[in-house]
Point group: C2
Chain length 199, copies 2
């Protein structure tokens, strides 16, 4: 490689998820060979986004305004609050389901060993919100990991303390999944949680 | 999605090769959640690269200086000139082989139907360079496509006109490839070009 600016660009692309040396090279060469205008646009979009996108004060999701469009919308059902670990989880639910309630983004999960407790996740603010009385159901959509489950149990208790009904996403065999390839924990849970077949 | 700056960032990522809507979302969220400093660096590296990286006047490869480091190097063997279609092809050869000669990047291939002739590929300048007498072998590494092969034939003639020996990368069964999965054209060529086994 002859150009140190080129090397810097390749190195900079490696900050992206799943992008190793080979992909970073391909990206840099592609932009320089065929997409200089697009590269310029990406540069500007990145600079603006990194500077201007903060977090909504209501739900802690990404937002360029103090309160995000979802929280500000009168069309969303304020008695449903879905709690997720990350903005990406929120996006996945918003895109996959017809959910019309509100969200709360933890920006993490309880992890005592890493010093992440209720305070670090802003759960005092969540408790305040539950105390306001508008929320009737707290849909707990933390990840089905050890820490995610521990967080879910904590949140369920918090909800009950404020007279809010906690619910949890169903676990089981994924649609289209083959039993043979489903992990044992999931399969065992799905078997134990079997329901009557509808006619 | 609540943020139009976020949407713009996701859209901007799609300029990268192999990046669809899903990957672009993951990249944007990853940068905003975990890599704001890296995103800032990528923004700057892109802006500088797009503005400052041009083409070497000798070999037409990417270069931030008038003559690239490879062309300017006294350590490279000036009697060998390897001709490729794109900067990415040059990089692949440089990284995969121990080649120590010079390069010439066509930035394309002959494609009469698209109006790409010898003039558009700067072959007059290549002819001049061959006429200078320093180059003894022209290693033609255009792609083994219809247009790449036509370009290779044209370049071989050009080389011979200037008393330069043309050579072509060997075609055949890829190392580690299984005959069963090699395409028919390659297999037929490899069979016809079989050589005696060394003892
Ligand atoms: Zn919000
Ligand atoms: Zn050069």
């Amino acid at each position: 490689m002859s150009s140190s600016l080129l090397e810097q660009l390749i190195e900079a692309f490696r900050v992206l998820p799943g992008v190793g040396q080979k992909s970073a090279q391909r990206m840099a060469y592609h932009v320089l060979e065929r997409e200089r205008a697009g590269g310029q646009r990406l540069s500007e979009a990145l600079a603006v986004a990194v500077e201007k996108i903060g977090h909504c004060v209501r739900c802690r999701d990404f937002s360029e305004t103090e309160v995000c469009a979802t929280c500000a919308s009168a069309a969303r059902e304020a008695h449903l609050l879905c709690i997720v670990e990350s903005p990406a989880d929120r996006l996945a639910i918003e895109q996959a389901t017809g959910y019309r309630g509100l969200y709360y983004v933890l920006q993490g999960r309880l992890s005592p060993l890493d010093g992440v407790g209720p305070r670090e996740l802003g759960l005092d603010r969540l408790a305040q919100r539950l105390a306001e009385g508008e929320v009737q159901e707290l849909i707990i959509a933390t990840n089905p990991t050890v820490e995610g489950e521990a967080t879910a149990h904590y949140l369920a208790q918090l909800a009950r303390q404020h007279g809010v009904r906690p619910s949890r996403l169903a676990h089981g065999v994924p649609l289209g999944g083959e039993l043979e390839y489903v992990d044992r924990g999931t399969l065992s849970h799905a078997f134990g949680s079997r329901g009557e077949m509808p006619e």
